[in-house]
Subunit: 154 residues, 2 copies
């Protein structure tokens, strides 16, 4: 009986954990979109370098369209700093979807973006793009972007 009871309690525990995980994932995808919106707002404002950079993990990889891969927080900070100090630079994006692993420890967001940069003729041009970000929860529960890639359409 004791074994039966222990198994029953264990099974109940797994069931409760399972339900909690499913609810967690539902709430989690909306929470992740909120984090992404806060990031997009900071990036679009283009003023607070440390806040913008804080959304990436320390070991994040950025794969920018038309530029070398940027690996790790110090390189990402320099990349963002250079972008923000480029005359006419502006970035905006909007994620339309977030999806999580069953346990809510990993997720991805997809969306569209627009980047204004100096063109080959020196005049600023705005390039429309599509982006995918992969996210991980760090200890404490906050989300950090670990992979960040975008490209342009036709």
């Amino acid at each position: 009986m004791r074994i039966f009871r222990a198994v029953a309690v264990f099974s109940l525990g797994v069931f409760v954990l399972g339900c909690a995980t499913a609810r967690h994932a539902d709430r989690g995808s909306e929470a992740l979109l909120e984090v992404d919106r806060a990031w997009a707002a900071a990036a679009s404002e283009g003023k607070d370098l440390e806040r913008i950079v804080s959304f990436w993990s320390d070991d994040a990889t950025v794969v920018p369209a038309g530029a070398p891969v940027v690996q790790g927080k110090p390189a990402i900070r320099a990349f963002v700093q250079q972008s923000l100090s480029t005359p006419g630079f502006h970035i905006s994006w909007r994620s339309d979807r977030a999806s999580l692993s069953a346990d809510g420890t990993m997720g991805f967001t997809t969306g569209t973006n627009a980047m204004t940069v100096p063109g080959p003729d020196g005049k600023v041009m705005t390039i429309a793009g599509r982006g995918v970000a992969v996210w991980r929860r760090i200890p404490g529960g906050e989300w950090r972007c670990v992979i960040d890639i975008w490209n342009s359409g036709p």
Copy 2:
């Protein structure tokens, strides 16, 4: 005592589950890279459309550099079929990294690719790229790519 024992058994269960999950994730990232290698081999061979297409989930999204977003298996099949029937077309890729959620239900791979396509002057040209794929385990445990995006460097 019974409560204590039940809690102890439950805690042991969670601990064992936790260890199993961690081992699972370690084995899982190598298994995911193997799946990706099999996919790359089929795509590089460029002969078996259905096998190539089978690695994507039914609801997958492909975000090709320089082309419109391709959404869902039928559209992806048409996209791949068109690519394979393009004279001179060839694709190859190699993923260098796979990383999974703690529960092994989601993962991503990153790597480099090369695509040979007819250029603007009609001669074939090979474009080097960097790609990110997001994967999900489907019921039964197999991996399917749910998001697929790539771009080119400088």
